[in-house]
Assembly symmetry: C2
Homo-oligomer: 202 residues x 2
């Protein structure tokens, strides 16, 4: 397949992305669980990343859990939620509905050719990242979104009342952390692909 | 961009997909809300579909709502859920956990060139189908998964007990049907793209 990517534009974008990544680390904004993977991807000759998440728990005030506009993030953590955090959260007043969302790892990989992108896509899909796809292509690079199906929402309350039984709080707390544990297992698989199977290195 | 798709292989795949679609209609397996869109896509010179969903409500018995293996589908409907259906469902015994999932429309479109796929991708992403991507490319066609973020899970019970308050059942029933309504609005937008804006027709 003809390559639409111009190497110098790709390298320019890569340098920018690397600078932003380093800044995120400096200001403590980086997601610790995935820093080593990002560094490894930047080491490879054909790929870099622009955006990533190691798997996380968020709580939002929104009519539906998929909305970004008109929703407010009340909680965000890339590690397990403590019983105290959950107890505080469920008593937070909301305008619409309080949802707790657990989501798996996401990685946006920019490759330097269409062939490289297709190879990566095939590999990650075979490894269980079934929702992955090429989301854009330009002369600056081909962007592959690497993502699994790991995602769940839990409806906790609306503006007037709690919708779950208070007796089920411990159960929900465990479920949230187990789901996050599953998300981190997917992250480990992703790391294995890059560190051991050396995808993006040919 | 060079085209990797060989027209005769694409047409072969298209004929097969059309035959399967017609069979699905005959055996009553087709998802009514999306039949007109599928027919329209097949009418276009550069696209056909292999797989689709108009938006639906499912209930599954599974440890997590994203699992397919080891999960059992207890309910599936492409139209609103009645209070009776919900009441029956919540009393169904489960092995693990009972989740109700509402998901938005999905369309797998096979284009006859990479350029056509990228054009389609750009258009649908701009129209709010933000999770869309090219999921495979071969000499038989380029597959674009058109999908929005509309997806929610509701945890109803585990094997021992109900996790929600019985007093919130009507509230949940409305929420489920409102979310499905939102899914169908996305479907309408998708139809507009194909019927009015004539994507896939150049």
């Amino acid at each position: 397949l003809d390559n639409i990517v111009r190497r110098e534009l790709w390298e320019e974008w890569r340098a920018e992305a690397f600078k932003r990544f380093k800044e995120d680390i400096l200001i403590g904004y980086a997601d610790e669980d995935i820093v080593d993977l990002i560094e490894e991807v930047f080491r490879s000759p054909h790929c870099f990343t622009t955006s990533s998440c190691s798997g996380r728990i968020t709580a939002i005030d929104a009519p539906y859990p998929w909305l970004r506009e008109g929703s407010e993030v009340l909680f965000k953590k890339h590690s397990p939620m403590t019983p105290d955090e959950l107890a505080t959260l469920i008593n937070t007043p909301v305008l619409t509905r309080l949802w707790i969302v657990v989501s798996g790892p996401i990685l946006h990989v920019v490759t330097d050719s269409v062939d490289e992108a297709l190879k990566l896509l095939k590999t990650v899909r075979a490894e269980g990242f079934k929702h992955s796809g090429v989301i854009s292509m330009s002369s600056s690079g081909v962007v592959v979104e690497v993502i699994s199906g790991v995602w769940l929402s839990l409806l906790i309350r609306d503006r007037n009342a709690l919708l779950i039984k208070t007796s089920s709080l411990t159960y929900l707390n465990n479920l949230i952390n187990q789901a996050l544990g599953d998300a981190k297992k997917r992250l480990a698989r992703l790391k294995k692909l890059f560190f051991e199977k050396r995808v993006c290195w040919n």
